[in-house]
Homo-oligomer: 339 residues x 2
Amino acid sequence: MGGDFAPASEVAGAVDALRQRRNEFEVILVGREREIHAQLQRHDTEGLSYSVVNADEVITMDDPPTAALKQKKNSSLAVGMQLHKDGKAEAFASVGNTGAVLSASTLILGRVKGVSRPTIAAFFPSEEGVCLVVDAGTNVDCRARHLYEFAVMGSLYAKKIFKYENPKVGLLNVGEEKKKGTEVVQEAYGLLERSHLNFIGNVEGRDILKGKAQVVVCDGFVGNVVLKFGESVPSFLKSKLKQYASGSIIRKLLIGAARGSLRASLRGMDYEEFGGIPVLGVNGVSIIGHGSSSPKAIKNMIFKAAEVAQSHLNTYIEEEMAMELKPIAPATPAEEGSS
Amino acid sequence: MGGDFAPASEVAGAVDALRQRRNEFEVILVGREREIHAQLQRHDTEGLSYSVVNADEVITMDDPPTAALKQKKNSSLAVGMQLHKDGKAEAFASVGNTGAVLSASTLILGRVKGVSRPTIAAFFPSEEGVCLVVDAGTNVDCRARHLYEFAVMGSLYAKKIFKYENPKVGLLNVGEEKKKGTEVVQEAYGLLERSHLNFIGNVEGRDILKGKAQVVVCDGFVGNVVLKFGESVPSFLKSKLKQYASGSIIRKLLIGAARGSLRASLRGMDYEEFGGIPVLGVNGVSIIGHGSSSPKAIKNMIFKAAEVAQSHLNTYIEEEMAMELKPIAPATPAEEGSS
């Protein structure tokens, strides 16, 4: 109920999802019953497996996340997450208030054993496919251990959901050399080196779009800044092209003619294709979509939720978290010399 | 001598600069005399005011900055910076090893009174003109006071050199609310609020290209990541367009026809136009250019160095640093309530 077009977009997306993959899952629509039923009547729902669970309250986009969760015990978010916690649903998805979904995921579902900080990843397009940047804004202040955990979770998500065989994990830094960056990042480098991941060392800001790694690890401050910067690129280009085109009719025609191609080329930056982003490290499956999700985006989000639920991702995360790091490699003479 | 095309590009750029603004300044070319003279012979230097000072050693791009400075006392960098220090030159410019120029600027020139951390700014294009992001990679670990200093220096540079009347200063953060972000950033917010700058509050990653502020303040880790990310956007777009165009001949033609327009629209991202980036907060004028600078970029860098020298920027920085912050504003009831 917290999305920008709720519940119209949610209901339409759910109906589409069920129609497309009829026997694969069931959808429980949680929110104001009457509004949901009113929307359902606009669709042909014959033979689709869904149910409606009432929740009278709505956490809005402007509500302070944690406070809203406490005050609105009967929100669609709280009720839906509780259904998942109680095993009545195998996954939860929402396009409501991101902070509130995050809080509810952690508070209601709890954390996977061994994980100290649940996280969310952002998906960037790259020259080589999708690049997961993790953390994308959940944890602004991180210790090295947290970065290591993000790497484990991101890597397993890339492997199990994006089907990368042995995803390359890079540590976001200001240079390639091991001794670059803050103390925290240098310490994280040491942990990642000793991990069982396919750690390729430090990567830089330019390597995200280049696709040098499939998983790029950073704290949530940096991740959030680079995510929002990236999201602003298409509209910046549009504004610059428009400005340039206004200079002459020929330019206008040329740019107009190529506009479709440009748009198609930028499609990799399209949120709708990815079906929302997962909250990683919580005891369950929680997917967050964009507030202004279209029915198509909602449909893809439901597919994603079902897929993650079937992947047993959390079991793999728990296993990897329990693994011991490899012993510290003795420094080579070359390394000792260069400080 | 440390640039990628040294000294050919440097000499050509200097000659162009002198020819274009004959009476405004004199250029001292520092480096291997014979190589410089060989280059000078390829140009018409009749009536131009220049001199050559010999320096036999070269700090390369791969040299570790501080160590190289100690070992190569007779490098063009060390000799040139010392000329500036000794008052024989009023500004210094180089396209050599960035780290080494930074170190030399701080070690040889010293800091402006009141500045604890010299910094470099990056220039981003934006929908509203140029946006300075400061720090762009010099100081990866910062305290609140450092961020405040970056804001003062960036703001004065925007005012004196880019001629923004009352530049808007934003603090890069993960959200607009005052209580967002790390402790350091929250503390910096408090200092900036009490400063005499035109502080507009927190800005987000997306606000850089939007041009919401003319000066965006952050630590060097974030600044470096977002700078390098931004620099990689044009080649990412090129790769995506190429990939898309390969799908059909019509697409190829359309994209080919619009290519010039695209390139022109992205010109704001062009390093050459800005004439290098200044080291802010050192007792002198030190400008760093891109290693692969063309003669045109070198020429603009020389103009920039002259302009900064004439602007008395450091006097303004010293004055602003000596100013007391305004007293803490009493919290309004609304602010007290929302935590």
